[in-house]
């Protein structure tokens, strides 16, 4: 090694030490550095994109050229509110999302309870893996699996439509409901259940007065997933929904076939508003910490 290189190394080490010492003393600087990239990405770029999309909802497109006309107008929202079709589609989407959430809750709660409170610790781990694994199997593959099951020659053979959509969506999001509830039940000390029993409460009463109130935040956390994921879906509907349409399809069709981004953006604000209202409403329950 030459003398100058050794000197360079020494300088680099000295600089490094000074930076380390500076960072060690200045917690605020460390914090700003840590936050800089995530906030630039999600806070600036992502939220900025959402904001830009929202602004676009107040623009329009030129009927002849298809170009964006960047002049403020309420027209898109007026069409949205006055259009009979859109109200029907929005209500139908809400109904589907609610139905999926309730179905998943009814199926998931007993499963999560059996996993958390009846299974041995060893089998608990395997059960969690069993529930988690299909979550990571492709969404599309699972919707496809139901297409095969529901097809007129298939095992279930119900045919396609809104019922098929609800069944498939419930299937798709079921693990999202099981896992938060399972985690919530696992945190629930067994001593509380024993105490409730010792004080004379039977199974149902213990559930109603002890288990349900304490796991409610977890249930809400699960419902955020099932509700939001159902609300924005347009692919499952295309695969098993037959001719049915949900909000997502209206957005999709306005971007693709109709080439009307402003109107698509206006329609897209509907599920976002619904989700924001939902999130704000459940914030008090502490559900967001259960995500």
């Amino acid at each position: 090694m030459t003398a100058s290189a050794a000197l360079g190394d020494g300088e680099a080490a000295g600089l490094r030490r000074r930076v380390a010492a500076f960072l060690h003393r200045h917690a605020r600087v460390r914090l700003s550095l840590l936050l800089s990239a995530p906030l630039a990405w999600l806070g600036l770029a992502y939220l900025g994109s959402l904001a830009a999309l929202f602004v676009t909802a107040f623009w329009s497109t030129d009927t002849f050229t298809g170009d964006l006309v960047k002049v403020f107008t309420w027209a898109n929202f007026q069409d949205l509110v006055t259009g009979e079709v859109y109200r029907t589609v929005a209500l139908r989407s809400l109904w589907v999302a609610a139905a999926v959430t309730v179905i998943d809750l009814v199926i998931a709660f007993p499963m999560a309870f059996a996993m958390a409170k009846l299974a041995s610790p060893r089998s608990q781990r395997w059960l969690v893996i069993l529930v988690l694994t299909p979550l990571w199997a492709s969404y599309l593959v699972k919707a496809y699996a139901w297409r095969v099951l529901l097809s007129s020659g298939g095992i279930l053979g119900w045919g396609y439509g809104l019922t098929a959509t609800i069944a498939t969506l419930s299937y798709l999001w079921l693990p999202y409901m099981i896992l938060p509830i399972y985690a919530g039940l696992e945190r629930l000390p067994n001593a509380l259940l024993d105490a409730s029993g010792d004080l004379g409460a039977r199974g149902w009463r213990t559930f109603r007065t002890v288990v349900w109130p304490l796991t409610f935040p977890a249930v809400v956390a699960g419902s955020i997933f099932t509700f939001s994921l159902s609300l924005g879906d347009y692919i499952t509907v295309k695969i098993v929904g037959g001719k049915s349409q949900l909000i997502g399809n209206v957005v999709y069709d306005n971007i693709g076939a109709a080439n009307n981004l402003p109107f698509a953006a206006a329609v897209a604000t509907v599920p976002v508003l619904i989700m924001l209202v939902y999130l704000a409403a459940v914030r008090r329950t502490g559900a967001l910490d259960n995500l």
């Binding site: 830009a52 499963m111 059996a114």
Partner: protein
């Protein structure tokens, strides 16, 4: 716990039935990939490896697979960096708007995918003027993958405490040395688990991909969706679906082993 015997039995039955409902459709897809009947007649009239063979030789499938791997690796790398930084900030410091950071990180998966998709595509297209392609897909995927890394690292940092890092500093190690020799080794498995989940999330995603990929980039889910409604492609699509089911077991098994090691005590 004083649950009656029938109640226990009922709950256990619900669990078994529920798991059955979860797995039967997947099993049917795997079985159908060997079904010698083109239209998946049930029960299968015979078994064959023919569809696996033609899927393996399909250039469309291979290209799509490679595209998906690239997108997944890119998104995972970005998610690892951003998720770790955010987790450290939230777990180790107090600051104004701390709760909003968690909300911000969950937002891309809490909002409907189509909203994230068109918002990003609109930004790329009309605001920034970037042509849609692999880069935009990676950016889109990274946005919703951050949360898996963030959650895993946050949970690990909570359990780790500060003791060992303070000891390292007391022994004269500076910030960087402590990170390299103490902090990083302790969170390595959490990073791996978070990274695997991020990759799986990206590998499977279709909605954001649809809007950010443009015409040239075709990931595996996009390929499946394009061929889903073509009857003569049905057996090959089914094989790809079956392969994806089998492949998805690997990352989740690994992630569970990695993050579960400390919770089993």
């Amino acid at each position: 716990m004083n649950l009656s015997r029938p109640a226990r039995l009922l709950l256990r039955t619900a669990l078994v039935l529920g798991l059955g409902v979860i797995y039967v459709p997947l099993a049917v897809v795997i079985l159908n990939s060997f079904n010698s009947d083109r239209t998946f007649g049930w029960p299968p009239p015979g078994l064959t490896f023919q569809w696996w063979h033609s899927a393996w030789n399909s250039s469309g499938v291979r290209d799509a697979l490679w595209t998906s791997v690239q997108a997944g690796l890119g998104a995972t790398a970005i998610a690892l960096v951003l998720g770790t930084m955010a987790a450290f900030a939230v777990q180790r410091y107090r600051f104004f708007g701390k709760n909003s950071v968690s909300l911000l990180i969950v937002l891309p998966i809490a909002l409907p995918g189509i909203v994230t998709g068109i918002a990003l595509s609109n930004t790329f297209h009309t605001v920034l003027g970037i042509p849609l392609g692999m880069l935009t897909v990676i950016v889109g995927h990274a946005t919703f993958c951050v949360v898996t890394v963030y959650n895993n690292v946050l949970a690990r940092l909570r359990r780790m405490g500060l003791g060992l890092e303070e000891a390292s500093a007391d022994l004269g190690a500076d910030t960087f040395t402590t990170f390299r020799l103490v902090t990083f080794p302790m969170m390595r498995s959490a990073l791996l688990a978070g990274g695997l989940l991020a990759f799986a999330l990206s590998f499977d995603e279709i909605i954001v991909t649809t809007f950010t990929s443009g015409a040239g980039v075709r990931t595996l889910p996009i390929w499946i969706f394009e061929n889903l409604f073509r009857p003569n492609q049905a057996p090959v699509v089914n094989v790809v679906a079956a392969a994806l089911i089998v492949v998805s077991i690997v990352p989740i098994y690994l992630a569970q082993r990695l993050s579960g090691e400390t919770t089993t005590h």
